[in-house]
Amino acid sequence: MVLLVGTSSRMRARSRKRVLPLLGVWFFRGLLVIPFAFMAPEIISLALGRPGSVANVSASTADVLGTSSFLLFVMMLAVTPVYTMTGWRWHLILRRDYGVAMFFTAGTDLTLAAITTGATFPGGPLGRIAGHTFLLFGTLSVFLLIPLTLTANRGAMHWLGGRWKSIQRLTYVLWVTILIHLAFLFGLSSFFLDALAVSAPLALLRVPVVRRRWRSARKARTNRLLRIGAALALIGLFSIGYSQLVHELAVKGTAAFVQRPPSD
């Protein structure tokens, strides 16, 4: 009897161990629909040809889908540092999910910009996606997502073997082009500084020596205070930038959802 009770409680604990990560993964996957949910009313209005819909989409697309794309990129980049700091593995699958979702969000942003921003940018669809320095770097970033997304699956990993990683390192080129895009767009203020604030901890935890030492200290359970202090500082800096970006998305996304976007 005791043996049976012990076995069933172990089984319950094991199934809880399997269920919680699964719930976590699906929670974070659920967040991926938010940008499209915010934009859906305006896009449907655009498809139905309602008056004012072009201007609404033109005003919202960069604010909602552009901000979302960057947030998805940041979430994707955060997966490896979270693994380094905690040793968790349940969330690793989200790296691919967030990368692919970023491609679709940024691609939709680019497409809607090419279609609807004629009143803001002269020169036809090409001028609307490459007619300014900041537009060019935004378009370059979306184009760079093509090889990254095409190789974000098991088939491509098998096809490329050990060379798969070198293709995925284009993510770092993408990181730079996105920051240049934001620098041209906002200068050394607001959104660009937020982007730097979220980027700095993610970049630091990717430095091989930092990553290696953190991982070995975690495994050996040493330097606990130092690790907690560093984690608090890095998470704090990340949160400062991240909360601003989420606030921006919440405000602009809600305005887009009720089809009352701020005018440019």
Binding site: G66, L126, L160
Partner: protein, 60 residues
């Protein structure tokens, strides 16, 4: 357990070819974006390419 050297070499060759295809695609993507920018720069001039009025491109 050991793979046939000829088969191993074939796999290596196939993976190198795959890598070249993907790097070529990445290069084409980069060049396509730069070509669009160069075309717009040529068509509308440097001033318009560099100058951005406040609020244009994002509402902030």
């Amino acid at each position: 357990m050991h793979q046939d050297p000829a088969a191993y070499a074939e796999v290596k060759r196939r993976r190198l070819r795959a890598w070249r295809v993907m790097m070529l695609l990445a290069l084409v993507c980069i060049l396509a974006a730069l070509a669009l920018g160069a075309f717009e720069l040529h068509a509308h001039g440097l001033n318009q390419f560099l100058y951005r009025a406040p609020g244009v491109g994002a509402s902030k």
